[in-house]
Amino acid sequence: MKSLAELEAIRAKTLEKVAMRKEGDDAVRIVVGMATCGIAAGARPVMLKFVEEVQKRNLQNVTVSQTGCIGMCRLEPMLDVIMPGKEKVTYVKVNPDMVSRIVAEHIVNGRPVQEYTIGAAEGK
């Protein structure tokens, strides 16, 4: 090891992989409904797409996790984006093609994609 920069590079590279184990509640959580209904409706590819996007954009402090059925099986695949200090946003009938837009607009820039949310779906 010859420099601080080298150490910092290793730190940054590994940090994203262990970030979920670090303390602190400022993490953004993407929680995908993965009960039988969710899986049947195609939640797994959606979740994998999220993991892929998070990695591609090198987002720190974002975790992708799963949850069970919340009872609105007809709207699956569903997922919540929970950002610290903000109301959680629920997206419904998500498919993998919608994921990169959610990540870009909501996770990165903080603007929920209104047309994909439960409010939009139920309002129709």
Binding site: K2, R11, T14, E16, V18, R21, M34, L48, V64, S65
Partner: protein
């Protein structure tokens, strides 16, 4: 390398490994692959989580769900429910003895962890100890980089002195001062040594740090080497800690590969490398001078001080010795500053201390609390109290060198000075809890038996004096105590304390002195009344049959020496001269008619 959405952390400490965590890891990997999750979920073997009582422990992140006592059969369910469908397997989640059923136990909201402050154990159970990158991700080697590129050696020593860090091996000597002495010695070669010869019965904090976070010790030793001007380090670790030795060696190899050990570290011109030396199981080798003799290849025997190691130590060169836990604190102090460290704990006792809780306590395990935490909180809040509704009697701290703290001192704030003031000592941090069934005379006998075994035999007070004390204690517990035994014990104890060569002998009488101080009446009952108040000493017990006896003859049939007589449906009687006090009759009696006193 891929990003994994979930991490399954399986404890790979010695406790959980012996209850089968290696098989769990294999099963997890197999099941995860079978369910096609191997690209998403990663299984990591970590160091000790501390709550060994509930082992094997498995934690699933990002939720932080805490599963306890997991068997191989349970793995399939965790994989198919939690990892595949995101449903926590409630019945496997750790439940606190007193807590309601429904709570979703994550690490932070468990009573065992809440009052704790994990500094020395910060990475134990969090990182993969066999992966240097993970240590670096958790700010590892940052302190070494900072010190080597920005600080002068005197700055490091000043920071250590300012932090108020005291030796965690038990003596409590200020670490900064120790470094200052070693730095002041002029020599062509100096050494920095880590004492990992953790020999106190019941203490295992050093093992857990080496198993769970070996790089923190390596980093701190390099920092210490820079501060005192040493280019070589030795870790003296017990051969009885195979997992710790293996992971430490792996960590050293990885650090060398990254150039964090070796020549010209961080381009600073500072060279440092380190080696492991294995101890062969002698308790006295935890004493620093004996330890150095053992590293040199000689017989592990202490030598008189002065000269202190800082002047003439390993291979007759100035050396500095610190304990594992002391080292584990150092990178944090450098990163966060002496003032931060001093803000934790009490004045004169900065920081935290790790304790190994054992004995008659619900939550056996490793705990780390700020100095000054009341003993009561450690026993009841973290430790979960005494099992089976029994009453707390005393806690033994400091192992064979320490003493017993009785219930009247339960509210004492734990630090070096307070423990010494009541006749015990911090020691390395073993805490053995005793309940009403423990005989204090027998406890003193147990610890003395240990020191007699472990005395190296070099000096007379320790070799012969402790042996004589043990003989007296054995007589007392066998009901052959005589008037004047207590006084004899006290005289011997004080003589040994003031004349023994090293710490082992000087502290060996402590368990006797402290039990005499707080439980003198128990000694007197053994000697004068030939009675053991705790009903523990077998030879002093008398079994008696009370009038609850229905004459069922069950006891007479089970008695191996035919000491019980009586006819059917009539009260039976025990012949105490024949009775060998095995207790079989009491176990057999269905009417609670047999009592011991």
């Amino acid at each position: 390398m891929d990003l994994f959405r979930a991490h399954v952390l399986v404890c790979g400490g010695t406790g959980c490994t012996s209850s089968g965590s290696a098989e769990l890891i294999a099963r997890f990997e197999e099941q995860i692959a079978k369910n096609g999750l191997d690209k998403e979920v990663k299984v990591i073997r970590t160091g000790c989580f501390g709550l060994c009582e509930a082992g094997p422990v498995v934690i699933v992140y990002p939720e932080g769900t805490f599963y306890s006592r997991i068997r191989v059969e349970d793995v399939d369910e965790i994989v198919s429910e939690h990892l595949l469908k995101g449903r926590t397997v409630q019945h496997l989640v750790y439940k606190e003895k007193a807590a309601e059923e429904e709570q979703h136990a994550t690490l932070e909201n468990i009573d065992f962890y809440r009052p704790q402050m994990r500094l020395a154990l910060r990475n134990c159970g969090v990182i993969d100890p066999e992966n240097i990158d993970e240590y670096i991700a958790f700010d590892g080697y940052k302190a070494l980089a900072k010190v080597l590129t920005e600080w002068k050696p005197e700055d490091v020593i000043k920071e250590m002195i300012d932090s108020g860090l005291r030796g965690r091996g038990g003596g409590g000597f200020p670490t900064g001062k120790k470094w200052q002495f070693a730095a002041a010695s002029k020599a062509d070669q100096k050494y920095i040594i880590c004492n990992a010869d953790e020999g106190d019965p019941g203490a295992f904090m050093d093992r857990s740090i080496l198993e769970g976070d070996p790089h923190s010790v390596i980093e701190a030793m390099a920092i210490g080497g820079y501060a005192i001007g040493a280019t070589e380090g030795y870790v003296y670790v017990r051969a009885e800690y195979p997992i710790a030795v293996k992971r430490l060696q792996l960590a050293i190899d990885q650090a060398r590969e990254y150039g964090l050990l070796g020549k010209n570290i961080f381009g600073s011109g500072f060279d440092f490398d380190m080696y492991i030396r294995l101890g062969a199981g002698a308790f006295v080798c935890g004493e620093e001078t004996a330890l150095m003799r053992s590293i040199e290849g000689g017989r592990g025997e202490p030598t008189p001080k002065p000269p202190f190691p800082a002047v003439r130590g390993l291979f007759d060169k100035p050396s500095n010795i610190n304990n594992v836990e002391t080292y584990a604190n150092i990178p944090l102090i450098i990163n966060k500053g002496a003032d931060w460290f001093k803000s934790i704990g009490t004045p004169g006792n900065s920081g935290t201390k790790v304790f190994a809780l054992g004995g008659k306590i619900n939550n056996t395990g490793l705990v780390e609390v700020p100095m000054g935490t009341p003993l009561r909180d450690v026993i009841y809040k973290i430790g979960g109290g005494i099992p089976n509704g029994k009453a707390f009697k005393a806690v033994q701290t400091g192992g064979p060198s320490g003493g017993c703290i009785p219930a009247e001192h339960l509210d004492i704030a734990i630090d070096y000075d307070s423990l010494t003031s009541i006749g015990s000592m911090m020691g390395s941090g073993g805490m053995i809890v005793m309940d009403e069934d423990n005989c204090m005379v027998d406890i003193a006998r147990f610890f003395l038996d240990f020191t007699v075994d472990e005395s190296c035999g070099k000096c007379t007070p320790c070799r012969i004096g402790t042996k004589r004390m043990l003989e007296i204690l054995e007589r007392i517990t066998e009901g052959k105590g005589e008037e004047g035994d207590i006084e004899k014990l006290e005289a011997l104890a004080n003589n040994i304390k003031s004349t023994a060569l090293c710490g082992l002998g000087q502290t060996a009488p402590n368990p006797v002195l402290s039990t005499l101080k707080y439980f003198r009446s128990e000694y007197e009952a053994h000697i004068k009344e030939k009675r053991c108040p705790a009903h523990h000493c077998q030879k002093l017990l008398n079994y008696e049959i009370t009038d609850k006896c229905r004459g069922c003859t069950a006891c007479a049939r089970v008695c191996p020496v035919n000491a019980i007589t009586g006819s059917v449906k009539e009260m039976h009687h025990i012949d105490t001269t024949k009775c060998i006090k095995c207790g079989s009759c009491m176990e057999k009696c269905r009417f609670g008619a047999i009592v011991k006193n």
